[in-house]
Amino acid sequence: MRNETVLGGGAAGGYEEPSQCSEHVAIADRDGVVGTIMLAPAVIYVIALVAVPFFLAIALSLSDATVGNPSAHQFVGFDNFTSVIYEAAFTFALRNSIIITAATLVLLTVLTILQVELLACDFPGKRTAQILLILPWAMPVALAAIGWLWLLDSEFSPIDWLLRAVGLLGPGTVLGPANNLYYLGREWLGIGAVVVINVWRTLPLSTIIVLAGRTAIPNEVYEQAELDGAGYFRTLFQITLPALAILLIVAILFTVLVIFGDMTVVALTTRGGPGYATEILPYWAYLKGIQGGALSQGAAIALFLFPVLLAASVLALRMAYRREG
């Protein structure tokens, strides 16, 4: 398109190719090159120590390596996988992983929504509350697990003491007749304990994720709802939750990644017990692979985690990018 001029200047020309320029553009000015150089070390590092081990895990699972002989790589095909699947422990491990993860997610969703509603408001002492509420995530997992181990001790648990003090525990009571609840010694209590610990330590992160979206909802929307006469729960379900849906899903998917693949809590509290009640997949992989010495089998078990983790990651990515438009 040409200029339209009645009077006045302006070169009337067509398109012109940028002519050869004798000046050399320095590297420091080339955004693409600079960007690649700046990104490369981190990418190389992550590829070397994440991607490579991942493929190594696959290779290991197809071999017969053991702790005693880690570099013996005899290709055994899918033997490890088949032998692992046929073990009774496999079905238990898979089932336990699914149950514990699912229960954690349900409880976590409800508590996250409530906690986000609280933190969306301004109140005196908010800073202190933030410190308190983030503690479960901040505390190293292993140390927190030890803490819970003591909290749920079969003799000296303060929770039991409280229950006894209000008359809910002890001979002739609802939760009795024993004086203690053997949290880690009874099947469903043990599972429940692991679920509670999981929820306890992932609640801060999922709150933060959803809070990031909650604070983006403009106040005017709530003021309008109030003018329209909407009560608290109606506002929650018809305004807040739909707006937060995507981030809530992202938080849940992240939690799947954290919980499904984690073995620290089980390793330090129930140790897979009582019986096999809380022996989840990653813990079983640890028992077989490191403690039992069968590296290749451990790797094979751990790989069963992968499809779930991949599905969760892909879904999380798609949700997140849908949000970013």
């Binding site: 420091a28 990104l39 909290l151």
Partner: protein, 285 residues
Amino acid sequence: MNVRTMQISRTVGFYVALVLFCLFAVFPALWMVITAFKQNSDLYDPMNNPFLFNLPPTLTHIESLFTQTNYPIFLWNSFIIGVIVVAITLVLAVPAAYSLARLMGHWGEHSSIAIFLVYLIPPTLLFIPLYEIVTVLGAANTVWSLILVYPTITVPFCTWLLLSFFRSVPREVEEAALTDGWSRVGVFFRVALPLALPGITTCIVFAFALSLSDYIYAAVFVSRTASRTVSAGVPTELIRGDIYYWQALMAATAIVGIPLAVVYGLLFNWLVKGFQVELPRSPRA
């Protein structure tokens, strides 16, 4: 119910819920601290109110933690590992985050969720092959095995965090520096970096804390007491057979856990910011 009553019950309900959530979060830590100071005969009496000091609080357990166990060694190892891992993380993550924020186009800028996912890859997936790699490199049973592997956790997390900080540096300020005569590299060092300093400080804190939190790698790669970290050492070394020295154990966990919580808590808002999506820029006029 008139308006005033509704308002009061709303406020009361709010604070009750808040207190309940705070209690839930902090109860284990509270119990840790109380336990650490309790005398044996007070603690191990099931009839005693566990929340009161029926016998006066004592420092003996904390003393023995530091003088009679390997706890100080664990702390030292964790500290050294933390410092070196922080250094490695900064060198890798800071330029990577800037590159993604400004130099890698639309996808780079919006890669934050993908990066966070790399952080979430569980160690249980990789610990067995990594154990192999670490053994082959001769680093097994030394702190170097952890120094080598921890950046796989800290670098993605810190890159993710810094990405949001670099994105929040106003583009026009960087462009002004470009027209003022600096190269892209110059703009990085003289404008982006100084303005992202709070992010870098946050990164240092988190990189240190993340290297403290790992258990799996620490437990699997290092079995020698002298090289153990706090996370791996406390659960294993402070238990003699079946006897748990609970007061010392709880002191050990609280000494590390509570300061971390305070630091994380002070940085709470930065973390929320890391998940906030940048509002779409207005179309160019």
